[in-house]
């Protein structure tokens, strides 16, 4: 398995391990989410851009260091604008704590997991409750063999 995918799975496991989260955690989620199926609140860890640290794409003849961006997407539902934003920010705080509890994510080849910012909360009306969505970004620095990224 490519190390980038192992990192996504490790980030999911780290977020799930936070018992204060109170949300379902997915990877690469694109199918719709349903409150009646108990899928919300929800967190999805997605692969973002992966950028080699050296302009040439390798750091030495032995290895490549790279920065993988994880997009941690958050969804929730609530009755009002204030409650929706509050719920989104609580999800953001809990995922932050989870991803900073161990900056290696339990992987020997990960050297750092750093906060990369967040988007603005997006509230969608139309249904019987408001839907909130927020994207947060995390940058994971990792090392791989330059001939084999697995």
């Amino acid at each position: 398995m490519h190390r980038a995918l192992e990192i996504v799975n490790a980030a999911k496991a780290a977020i799930e391990a936070n018992t204060s989260l109170g949300a379902n955690v997915y990877t690469h989620r694109v199918y719709s989410l349903s409150d009646t199926e108990y899928e919300l609140p929800a967190v999805s860890v997605r692969l973002g851009p992966d950028t080699a640290l050296a302009a040439s794409g390798q750091s030495s003849l032995a290895f490549i260091d790279s920065e993988l961006e994880l997009q941690v997407e958050l969804w929730c539902q609530a009755e009002s604008e204030e409650l929706t934003v509050e719920a989104l920010l609580e999800l953001r705080a809990q995922t932050h704590k989870a991803l900073q509890a161990d900056i290696t994510l339990g992987l020997a080849y990960v050297t750092d997991t750093a906060y990369g910012g967040a988007g603005a909360p997006d509230l969608s009306p139309g249904g019987k409750r408001l839907v909130g969505h927020l994207t947060t970004r995390w940058v994971v620095r990792y090392r791989m063999n330059y001939t084999d990224p697995n």
């Binding site: 719709s32 989410l33 969608s124 139309g126 249904g127 019987k128 839907v131 994207t135």
Partner: protein, 96 residues
């Protein structure tokens, strides 16, 4: 279907509607709560879109406005938006 007169409109909601209660009184409206996919990020959240179709005269008579609480089938809803169609019918968009 064209509902030409106030009597036509009233007959329509009385034929297909159900009683709705609010603080200022009662009226008859057609309740609908169909599936609605709410776009959030790049996926949909599965929702339903509760709404009532009623005669505009009832909205005026009962002073229904945003945040008015309406009881339909023992469930309370709040009015989010009122859409008058300009011909004597109104749609009340609801939320929990």
């Amino acid at each position: 279907m064209t509902l030409e007169t106030p009597a036509d409109r009233l007959a329509y909601v009385q034929a297909f509607g159900e009683p709705v209660r609010c603080e200022s009184g009662k009226f008859i409206a057609i309740f609908d709560n169909a599936y609605l996919g709410v776009s959030a990020g790049d996926l949909d959240v599965e929702e339903s879109g509760p709404r009532l179709a009623c005669v505009t005269a009832d909205v005026t008579r009962l002073a229904i406005r945003k945040e008015t609480v309406l009881a339909v089938n023992d469930m309370d809803w709040r009015v989010v938006r009122i859409e008058h169609d300009g011909t004597g019918m109104s749609i009340l968009i609801l939320r929990e």
